[in-house]
C-alpha cells in the first residue's frame, strides 16, 4: 500500500500537484497514443503524454497506439513499441490483433511480445466490427492463455460485439487469462452487466475509464466488485485523463480502495507476468 491514511483528496486535487508527491502511486491501465481521424487531439505524442503523466503523478501508463486499435494493426504495434522503448518503465505496451485475419494473429503476437517487447494484449471489437465471441479472436485467447497474459477489451453494452456478458464464456474457458473490461460496459446497464460478469469470474477485472460517469457508479462498481478487481484507466490521450483522475480521487471510497485502484491492482497483475 502507498500513501497516508486519511488523505484530504479534495485538497490534493485543488493543489494541482502530482499525486505522487503525497505518496500515491498511479498506473493508468487503459491509455493510447497518437492522433485519431474523427476529432482533433492536441499533441498526442509520447513525449507530451509523459509530460502529462509527470503533471498528474502517474508513474506508468499501459498504452495501445490508436492505429493498433483498428486502422493498421502491425503499424500500430510498431508505433506502440517505439514509444515504449523511448520511455522504458513509464510506458508499457499492449499488442493488438486483427480478427479478420485470424491466421496471422499468432505470428503478430509472437513478433509483438518476443521482438517488440510488448507484454499485454488489447482488442477493440467495436472498431474492428467483429464480435469478441467470434472465431477470429480465438488465436489471441489461446496465445494469451499460453503466456498467462492480460487482455484489455473495449466493452459496451447492447448488441453482440463486445457486451460485458460476452466475456463470461471466455473467462471460464481461459482461466489463466486476466480480462479487463474496458469502460465496464460503458452505460449504467453495461456497468450492471460488467459487475455481474466480474462476480461470476475471478479473472474478470473492470476499469473506470469513461469520459463521463457519476460518482454513484464509481462507488457502486467498486463496492459491488470489491476494490481488488477495479483498475484506473483514462483512455488518454484519446480523452483527457484529468477527469477520470478527479472522479476517482473525489469519490466516497476509502483511501485503501483508492490506492488499490490507482495502482496496486495493476502492479499486482503485471507482477504475475514476470
Amino acid at each position: 500500500m502507498s500513501g497516508n491514511p486519511g488523505l484530504d483528496w479534495m485538497a490534493l486535487l485543488k493543489a494541482g500537484r502530482p499525486l505522487s508527491e503525497a505518496g500515491i502511486r498511479m498506473v493508468d491501465a487503459h491509455a493510447h497514443l497518437g492522433p485519431y481521424f474523427n476529432f482533433y487531439v492536441p499533441r498526442p505524442d509520447a513525449d507530451t503524454m509523459v509530460g502529462m503523466m509527470d503533471r498528474l503523478g502517474t508513474q506508468q501508463a499501459w498504452i495501445c497506439s490508436i492505429p493498433a486499435c483498428g486502422a493498421d494493426i502491425a503499424r500500430g504495434n510498431d508505433m506502440t513499441a517505439m514509444a515504449v522503448r523511448r520511455h522504458a518503465g513509464r510506458l508499457v505496451g499492449y499488442a493488438s490483433v486483427n480478427p479478420h485475419y485470424p491466421e496471422g494473429i499468432r505470428a503478430e503476437l509472437e513478433r509483438s511480445f518476443d521482438e517488440l517487447g510488448l507484454e499485454l494484449i488489447k482488442v477493440h471489437p467495436s472498431i474492428m466490427e467483429y464480435s469478441v465471441s467470434g472465431p477470429g479472436y480465438e488465436p489471441a485467447w489461446r496465445f494469451a492463455a499460453e503466456r498467462r497474459a492480460i487482455v484489455l477489451s473495449h466493452t459496451w453494452t447492447g448488441g453482440s460485439i463486445c457486451a460485458p456478458k460476452q466475456f463470461e464464456p471466455l473467462a471460464k474457458e481461459y482461466p489463466d487469462v486476466t480480462f479487463i473490461l474496458g469502460h465496464s460496459g460503458g452505460t449504467p446497464a453495461g456497468y450492471m452487466e460488467a459487475i455481474e460478469a466480474a462476480h461470476k469470474h475471478p479473472n474478470i477485472y473492470l476499469d473506470l475509464c469513461r469520459s463521463v460517469m457519476s460518482r454513484v457508479w464509481v462507488e457502486r462498481i467498486v463496492n459491488e466488485v470489491g476494490p481488488d478487481r477495479v483498475l484506473w484507466g483514462t483512455d488518454f490521450p484519446f480523452i483527457d485523463p484529468i477527469y477520470v483522475l478527479g472522479r476517482l480521487a473525489s469519490a466516497a471510497l476509502s483511501d485503501e480502495a483508492k490506492y488499490k485502484i490507482f495502482a496496486g491492482n495493476a502492479v499486482r497483475l503485471r507482477g504475475k507476468l514476470a
Binding site: Y40, P42, M52, L56, Y243, S250
Partner: protein
Amino acid sequence: MHLFDANCAVGAWPTDRLVYETVDGLLAEMDRLGIKQALVSHTLAQHFDPPEGNRILVEELAGHERLLPCWTLLPPSCGEMGTVQELVQDLARSSVRAVRLYPRIHSYSLDTWQCGDLLTALSERRYVLLIDMEQTDWSEVARLCEAYLDLSVVITALGYRHLRFLFGLWAHYSNLYCDLSNFSTYLGVEETLQRFNSERLLFGTGLPTLDGGGPIARLFYTRAPESDLEAIAHGNLERLLARVQLGKERAHER
C-alpha cells in the same frame, strides 16, 4: 478559490441513480467538493413540464443565497409560458439571469420562425443561454451566435469530439462559451488558453448526472496564471450574469 458552478440541477432522474436529488443534497455535495455558488436548473423542467419545473425550482431555492435559478424555456408558439413579453417579466420577477433550452427533447426548432422573438428578447436583455451539446448541432450554434450577438451562449457537457467545430466557431464569435463539465478533449483546456483566452471557459459540473471531482481536477491541474483560473472558476460567469438587464421588466412589476 471561489468555485461557481454554471451547470447543475436538482430533482429526480428517470434513467439512473443520482448522487442527490434535493436542494439539501446539492448543498451537501457542494460543501463536500468546496463549491461556493451554483446556477441551478430543475430536472422537472427538463423531463416533466418546464413551467411547473421552473415554479418548483423557485420555490425550492427560496432562501438559499448560494443557489441561483436557471429556468428552462419553451418557444411562445403554444403559449405554454405566456407571451414573450410575459415570459421576460416572469424571468425578471424571479431574478432569473440564465436560461436553458432543450430543443431536441422538447421538440421544437431554434430557427427564427419559432424562437426568433424569444431569442431576440433574451439577447436584448443580454441573457445567459445554456444548451447541452447533445441538444443542438454546430450549424445551429453558429446561427445563434450570429443572429443574437448580445446573447451569451454557453455549451454545456461538450464531450471530447468537438474541438474542430468549437475552435472554428470561436475564431468568429466572442459570445460563445463552454463549461468544464465534460470539456474532455485531451489538453483541450490548454489549447483553448493558448489559441484564445480564459474568457471562453466556465467552471461547471453537470451534477448530479455527471460528477464534480473531474471538472475540479481539470481546473486545478491546468498550468496557467492564477488570474486565468480565477476567471474560469467564477469570474467569467459572474461577468456574464452581471450583464443581464432585468431592470426594465422589474419597473413594470404588477
